[in-house]
């Protein structure tokens, strides 16, 4: 294929970021176009249908489904309280009393089936609120469904994350992108912050951050064995974001110790102290979704032109990162793209690129193992 390489992760100082905020079902939008919103502001609200409880009335009353109608005390659409009788059957001899079927929940009778003898009771709707996620401006209202919020600022994509949306002030606790920290580096002052923590976060560091109440941990690498410990299971497929964890975790490079890319580190450091929105949600299959850190900055408002970088094929001069061994993480410049295929160590015939590194060394790398650096 002509474009056998991985488009890079976006790391940019100035971007216009638009986020579609959509309710899971139709509801009410609370803001108008042009409204200035903060990340925590509620912008839309809906009511999710309640849970359904089933009552097998025919079994409880020892009747046939066809007889159900004559024993029901409630009809479809009627409201019921928890433990309220919904059907009853008098004993053949009246003074022996009656058998009663009660609703296990408070709600509304949804259906009464004369075939199965089941009665379905639906509980009250559950309210769901949608926040703006970003500090920004509402630029579009999706009628009854949500809004589009726009902001201007720095935008950093990671390679993999765990946990959902959060926001907090950016704090950088390392001097260099390849530094590592121990749990003692983290202080209580980091509570609620988005903490940039170097090339590797260990389980011990994560646990300390969790105890403090850090909002997000950003690091170059993380060990899979620690991820397993953190989640309590082996993550099988890279679809994340629903985990109820704090802090959320955003890995910028990959698994194992890996320095944060210079550009990413420099950008985050430059914005230390600013408020960021971050999301660990990752989905690598069908519609790639990468974790992100968005740092709104007023001066980035003219970023429109730079925000839509379209990936083009590799060309000589392209800055690239190697994303597989040998040389995983090394950054260099493409010097040539030899036509045809080349036999590599595995004996596979692949298309390659010649890459030159800052120390003057060169390597022949399969194009599939290169990531373009778009910044």
């Amino acid at each position: 294929m002509a474009h056998a390489y991985t488009p890079g992760l976006r790391v940019t100082e100035r971007a216009t970021v638009r986020k579609e905020r959509r309710l899971p079902i139709a509801g009410q939008v609370l803001v108008e176009v042009g409204a200035k919103v903060q990340a925590h502001d509620v912008v839309a609200r809906a009511e999710l249908p309640g849970d359904v409880a089933t009552v097998n009335v025919v079994n409880l009353l020892d009747i046939t489904p066809a007889e159900l109608g004559q024993h029901m005390l409630k009809r479809e659409g009627d409201r019921v309280e928890r433990d309220e009788p919904i059907a009853e059957k008098h004993a053949f001899i009246r003074w022996l009393g009656k058998t009663v079927a009660r609703s296990p929940v408070a709600g509304t009778i949804e259906s009464v089936s004369s075939i199965t003898g089941q009665v379905l009771v639906r509980t009250a709707p559950r309210p769901v609120e949608l926040t703006a996620y970003l500090d920004g401006t509402v630029v579009e209202v999706l009628e009854r469904e949500g809004v589009v919020v726009e902001t201007h600022g720095a935008f950093v994509q990671g390679i993999f994350g765990v946990g959902g949306e959060t926001c907090g002030e950016v704090a950088v606790v390392v001097d260099r992108p390849d530094a590592t920290i121990g749990p003692g580096t983290l202080t209580d002052a980091l509570k609620g912050k988005v903490v940039v923590a170097g090339s590797l976060v260990t389980s011990e560091v994560y646990e300390r951050a969790s105890a403090i109440g850090v909002a997000a941990l950003v690091c170059g690498g993380f060990h899979d064995r620690d991820l397993r410990r953190l989640l309590g299971y082996d993550l099988g497929v890279a679809v994340t974001g629903h985990e109820d964890i704090r802090p959320i975790l955003i890995i910028t490079e990959g698994f194992g110790p890996m320095p944060i890319a210079d550009a990413t580190f420099a950008l985050l450091k430059a914005h230390a102290g600013r408020r960021a929105s971050a999301n660990g949600a990752t989905q690598i299959r069908a519609g790639v979704l990468r974790p992100e850190i968005i740092i709104p900055t007023p001066q980035a408002a003219d970023a429109e032109a730079k925000s839509d970088i379209v990936a083009v094929g590799l060309t000589p001069g392209s800055r690239v990162r190697i994303i597989r061994e040998p040389g995983f993480g090394r950054i260099g410049v493409v010097t040539s793209l030899p036509p045809g295929t080349v036999r590599i160590e595995t004996e596979s015939l692949v298309r390659v690129a010649e890459v030159k590194f800052p120390d003057g060394t060169t390597a022949t790398v399969p194009r599939a193992n290169l990531e373009a650096i778009e910044s």
Binding site: T54, P65, T116, F160, G236, G254, R324
Partner: protein, 600 residues
């Protein structure tokens, strides 16, 4: 059968595409004096996702590469040129698709092991990924079932249950749960979820009353009209038609693609199943096929004319590679790795492949690790297949005296490795293995064929194309399959029981081309005898006492074996293959060397 618009007699030039989740692969098939041949192929990234959101962009790009390589003009702008004249145009365009996650279904039946299992087979055979199987007796509480239906957002639901004339209560109850969940389809917000009802015909009205208004309900023949018989055809046809009418119509660009093709678009796995069934029927053989992709692994089998397909939705070599680790466990992967490796390092390597799924192994050690993982992905997918490819359960039948001694219960798997004639592998890790002997070893280690079994790989994964073509022009599809699709690896001859390592296993004679080669194998040994593609040889193998080559302990085996790019593989490792914990790396290395699988 869906209607086609083409007369097979007039087809000299055919172009076919398979729109996969990552790559759109196009092949050109041309009529030559010796018959239909696959001549050129081109590929391009699939463009269902943003920013393109139009599947036809990828198709046009793949066509452009075909044009460049073949010199044939296929397109006039963005229009396919019909018919073929000289070096311009084509006579037919057909396509399959698994883009956008394929066809995702939920199936439901009354009894898990009976109608629900039949429904699962119907959906899988139609090319679907089954997200969940609901049954009245699946141990889940009603509210859990309702919540599950609501949470999963399938493309389609297949509801079955009850035999015709039997009780309707349970299947109506399932319909009530479905109605209460009021599920929404995965794609598109403004259409109702298609639901196929293929259960007890007496419940049709009651089901329609409950689901008619809330879903796009289609009623078809009961897929289990009596306990003793499955009738999966009508449900599969309905699934296929709804796939085109609803699911495909919602996917970006498919309306345009559907207007281009000369025969209905098929889900990729359904097309692969179609060609496998055609081959098994034409050649009168039992076969197993496997397609291991980045996200999923499909296994197909035809035994005694019965077709089965399973898809292991989360076993694959890139997106799902980490799930292979999760399901197989580290020790099972490590047993195939021919060197010592640190657990933390191996785990990180696997996760790095998951998050950057398009990378390729550059180092030999990484290739060996990937091929170790592939063995486990294949093994697990095959285990799942055997569990579903079973006889009908709940059926009373008379057993012969010999069956009474057999431990196979009613409803046991119909996959019988001793009756297997051909094992076909496809998917990148098998088709693109740098040495074909690596593909042969992965297939043997994962499937563990017994007795005499031919092995092959799909050269460039053109089975989907040939499957959809077979719906229009079976002859062309068959000719290309025989000539160009399969690469014969050779034949595996394996003992089927176990013996003491190092003791004699069997002596053999291989008569080919006027010469005879003789040898002896000890238990635990693997040997390769070269035999070229197109050649055959007479094999006589005499087992040692207690050793079984598939005909019973001590019984001599005489068979015609076929050559291939690898040759005849004599396997005395026994079944199941046991990799010793002590000296694991040396043992696995010795096996690899016997087949000259890796450079030294």
């Amino acid at each position: 059968m869906l209607e086609t618009r083409i007369s097979p007699g007039l087809l000299d030039v055919i172009v076919a595409t398979d729109c996969g989740s990552t790559t759109t692969k196009a092949i050109l098939i041309e009529k030559r004096p010796e018959g239909y041949r696959q001549t050129f192929r081109g590929e391009a990234p699939t463009t269902v996702e943003a920013p393109f959101e139009d599947v036809t962009r990828g198709v046009l790009n793949a066509f452009a590469e075909l044009e460049e390589l073949s010199g044939r003009r296929i397109l006039d702008g963005e229009r396919i040129i019909y018919p073929a004249r000289g070096n311009v145009g084509v006579d037919l365009y057909v396509s399959t698709s698994s883009a956008g996650g394929g066809l995702q279904m939920v199936v439901a039946g009354v009894v898990k092991q009976m109608t629900a299992e039949s429904a699962q087979r119907a959906a899988l055979g139609a090319g679907a990924i089954v997200m969940d199987v609901l049954a009245s007796n699946d141990q889940r509480q009603p509210h859990e079932k309702i919540e599950l239906i609501r949470r999963l957002r399938p493309d389609m639901v297949l509801l079955s249950g009850g035999t015709d004339g039997g009780t309707i209560t349970h299947v109506v109850e399932l319909a009530e749960f479905l109605a209460a969940a009021n599920p929404r389809p995965r794609l598109g917000r403004n259409y109702k979820l298609p639901v196929i009802y293929a259960g007890n015909r007496d419940a049709r009205q009651a089901v329609a009353e409950r689901l008619g208004a809330k879903t796009e309900l289609h009623i078809t023949d009961n897929l289990r009209p009596v306990l003793e018989r499955e009738n999966l055809g009508p449900a599969r046809t309905e699934i296929h038609e709804l796939f085109l009418k609803h699911v495909m119509a919602q996917a970006p660009g498919y309306d345009k693609l559907m207007s281009w093709v000369g025969a209905p678009i098929m889900p990729t796995p359904a097309a692969v199943g179609a060609i496998m069934l055609t081959i098994a029927q034409h050649q009168g053989i039992n076969l197993i096929g496997v397609d291991i992709g980045g996200a999923t692994t499909d296994v197909f089998s035809v035994f005694g004319g019965t077709f089965n397909r399973t898809v292991s939705a989360n076993l694959g070599m890139s997106y799902s590679i980490s799930n292979v680790l999760a399901e197989a466990g580290l020790p099972n992967i490590l047993r195939w790795v021919p060197f010592d490796i640190d657990e933390t390092d191996l785990r990180d390597r696997i996760k790095n492949k998951m998050i950057r799924p398009t990378t390729v192994p550059q180092l030999l050690v990484e290739l060996k690790v990937e091929q170790a993982i592939a063995r486990e992905a294949l093994r697990l997918a095959f285990e799942q297949h055997k569990a579903l490819a079973v006889g009908l359960k709940g059926v009373q039948r008379e057993r012969t005296i010999s069956e009474s001694f057999d431990e196979t219960p009613s409803g046991g798997t119909i996959v019988d490795m001793r009756r297997l004639d051909l094992l076909v592998g496809s998917g990148g890790v098998l088709s693109h293995a740098p040495r074909r002997s690596q593909a042969a070893m992965m297939l043997i280690d994962a499937f563990q064929p017994e007795g005499v079994t031919r092995l092959a790989v799909d050269s460039i994964f053109m089975m989907p194309h040939l499957g959809v073509l077979a719906q229009v022009h079976e002859e062309a599809a068959m000719e290309v399959f025989v000539q160009d699709c399969l690469i014969a690896l050779g034949t595996c001859v394996a003992m089927v029981n176990q013996g003491k390592a190092g003791t004699p296993a069997f002596d053999y004679e291989l008569e080919a081309g006027g010469g005879v080669r003789r040898g002896s194998l000890a238990v635990g040994e693997l040997r390769l005898e070269p035999l070229a593609v197109g050649q055959s040889a007479k094999l006589t193998a005499t087992p040692a006492r207690g050793i079984d080559l598939g005909l019973g302990k001590g019984h001599r085996l005489e068979a015609t074996v076929h050559g291939g790019v690898v040759g005849v593989i004599l396997d005395a490792r026994g079944r199941p293959i046991v990799v010793p914990e002590k000296g694991r790396a040396e043992t696995v290395n010795r096996w690899a060397q016997a087949l000259n699988a890796y450079p030294r």
